[in-house]
Subunit: 215 residues, 2 copies
Amino acid sequence: MREEFRIDLNIVSQLLVDMAEAVRAAMRQATRALLTADRNAAEDVIARDAEVDSLYRQIEERVCDLLARQAPVASDLRALITALHVAADLERMGDLADHVAKTAVRRHPSPAVPAELRPVFTEMATVADRIANKIATVLSKPDATLAAELEQDDDAMDDLHKDLFALLLADDWPYGVETAIDGTLLGRFYERYADHAVNAGRRVVYLVTGETVTD
Amino acid sequence: MREEFRIDLNIVSQLLVDMAEAVRAAMRQATRALLTADRNAAEDVIARDAEVDSLYRQIEERVCDLLARQAPVASDLRALITALHVAADLERMGDLADHVAKTAVRRHPSPAVPAELRPVFTEMATVADRIANKIATVLSKPDATLAAELEQDDDAMDDLHKDLFALLLADDWPYGVETAIDGTLLGRFYERYADHAVNAGRRVVYLVTGETVTD
């Protein structure tokens, strides 16, 4: 029974890692589509969001099946509840990559991001990618130290978000309201992507240490 | 055992209803604070978000305790997993009311919403309130018909969101970029609040009918 549970839990963990890698790849590609006005790349991200959703459903079904068949308690139960929460965060990260890709499609063939904003979005995408990579790593091999690093990455994302607003609100902002609205929403998508990754990281820390990380 | 489970599940349901009513009250008050530049009302919403978070933790703990003690299967297990998901959506709705309140505080004593945008935000708040009320009702007494109505409410919110963008992007928009950014973010907060409510509604429909509502 116990051995069977371990095997099933490992399958769930592997599905979570697959999901983390999928939403990392999605945001990388969405960013590239955004910054190079690559419509095909953007449409590919949008089409492949269904794969992330499918992984989410598989995880939910397996977790519910395990709860019903094995009636786990204590740390086994906690691991399954954590898997449900982490999967929900990852699913939302996939949606946010999809939103970035849709912004690129909506403005195509124009770039949605003007030259002045490219550096800050490039940085936001770099931090988002670093965070997504850590989540995939932490899920493969739970590590409270690495998960706690996500808090610093989240601070870096918040600083970049403030930098973005400073650019949008500069007196000499030359691009008008529409580009400012796109920039505002895109900034929010990257920031929320990071937030969900950090939430997922907190859950993993809690699973490993039993201690809640407060923000 | 079974009777004990019913009693415990009813406590979880009541906590969910309390949470739904709390996030409904929070968004009503946040809207009033926003539209009347009432700083005290806004700060009260921000302070009381901790109550919503506390309800969320209570629900999680009770659900985990029930899973461990009673090892439910089939519809009982489904009810508990639904409770976890609905609680997560409600927690996020509380956060979004908090974000609206924080926008009101940030711009105080100026109103964050200029005259031209007041009607559309008043409408968005009305739809948000209608949705939150339906969630509280559906949680008290599961009702697939009422939950399905949420889909129409969600469409109404999406239409209002489009109206908002049309106002922000009008050639004669007189308020500059900062007010457009506030309007963009506020619109997103109300829209996401509705999305989470509709997600919660879909979960309740699934619980009652066993059928997934697709969007």
